[in-house]
Amino acid sequence: MTELLEATAQPTPDPPTPDPMVPRVFRVERTRQDTRDTYTLELSPLDGEPLRFAPGQFTMLQAWGIGEVPISISGDPHGSGLLEHTIRNVGNVTRALVHTSRGATVGVRGPFGTGWEVERGAGGDVVFIVGGIGLAPLRPAILHVVRHRDQYGRVVLLYGARTPDDILFAPDLEHWQDDCGIDVAVTVDNAPHSWRGRVGFVTSLIPRAGFDPLRTTAYVCGPEVMMRSSALALRDRGVAADRIRLSMERSMKCGIGLCGHCQLRELFLCVDGPVLGFDRLEPLMSRWEL
């Protein structure tokens, strides 16, 4: 029993630095372009102390003198010690980050926020529902399940991307499907004639995913409207709202519940979230501009 617990346990997240507003310095070891606009950075800490995190947590990542943004961790929680961040180039800070050259440094604060708590889904079926770049925050959770595959029942990954060219981590998807006992279903919004796969919204994959709603935990990550319609579809099929976990995105300046930007009514999404149950989120996701 003890052994099992140890095997299942997540690495304990690092305690915050003495002043959580002061960053640690990490060096860019590798960068990889994943898609047209998305890059993965592998970072090593200058002080040599790997950053331990729970799947679903994020860091505040900064390009010196330019700015800082919350970016979820996309690497293996049991991995090599390199910190992996998958970043979409959508603004001036992310542009600077993805173009940081090898050997240069960036600032890292964190890890912050709640995790997926994927170990709590052990013993039952698991459904990952992913939209777009949402695969990056879920990747550590998927890797955890892969590592502890025998503790889970049926595991499915339903992934919606914009076009075939926007599909992230394609080698991972193939590996998970072929070697790891995960049923991976990919669908895209639009595709050229040459595409042999599915076209359609990700929710259309739910009816044929073949999980047992009563013993399923779902982890949903993507744009808010996509998460909401996925969560409703899951609940309509009988998955308990508190077992549908979503990761919310809002503006964040501090990551530690002080700056106020990420508030969703009574929640500070940087410390109360970003991962929360649909039972808690549903009333807050159904009102515009809350």
Partner: protein, 156 residues
């Protein structure tokens, strides 16, 4: 022989789940099994919509021809789905091209036969229409979601 095996397989398709077996048997009279090879066209934009399909295996892409000569896929249907609603709505003309992307097996219903049976017995017609409406509703919702281009970069 064909009809006999269809009355066995049709109730397994999600479209007919919960249907009165007598009705399935009645409608099976309009049906036949078909087999499509990869890239085989099922129908073309603008052609009369003479059939209704239940997909049993494989995948069909709905696509719109583009000015450039190519085409883009706007939706796919696969095992458990239905293909085509234009057969039910005047002027009974296809709005898209349908093409098998992989080896595909389906049940094809003759539209005229189906419409005649729906009209002859309103209860049958209502049952079919309710199913089709449900599917259209779901697809419309999904289409609207995709219209939002939720994975794209938001522009204020």
């Amino acid at each position: 022989m064909t009809i006999r095996s269809l009355t066995e397989t049709l109730p397994e398709h999600p479209f007919f789940q919960g249907f009165d077996p007598a009705v399935i048997e009645l409608l099976a009279g309009c049906a036949r099994n078909i087999h499509l090879r990869p890239d085989e066209l099922v129908f073309r934009t603008g052609e009369p919509a003479q059939h209704f399909y239940l997909i049993r295996e494989g995948r069909i892409a709905l696509q719109v021809p583009e000015l450039s000569g190519g085409s883009s896929i706007i939706d796919t249907v696969e095992a458990g789905d239905v293909l085509g609603v234009s057969w039910l709505v005047p002027p009974y003309r296809w709005l898209f091209d349908a093409r098998a992307t992989v080896e595909t097996r389906a049940v094809s219903f003759d539209a005229e036969c189906l419409r005649a049976k729906c009209e002859a017995d309103p209860a049958v017609g209502y049952a079919v229409l309710t199913r089709v409406a449900h599917i259209m509703h779901r697809r419309l919702e999904a289409a609207r979601m995709r219209m939002l281009d939720v994975y794209g970069v938001r522009r204020a």
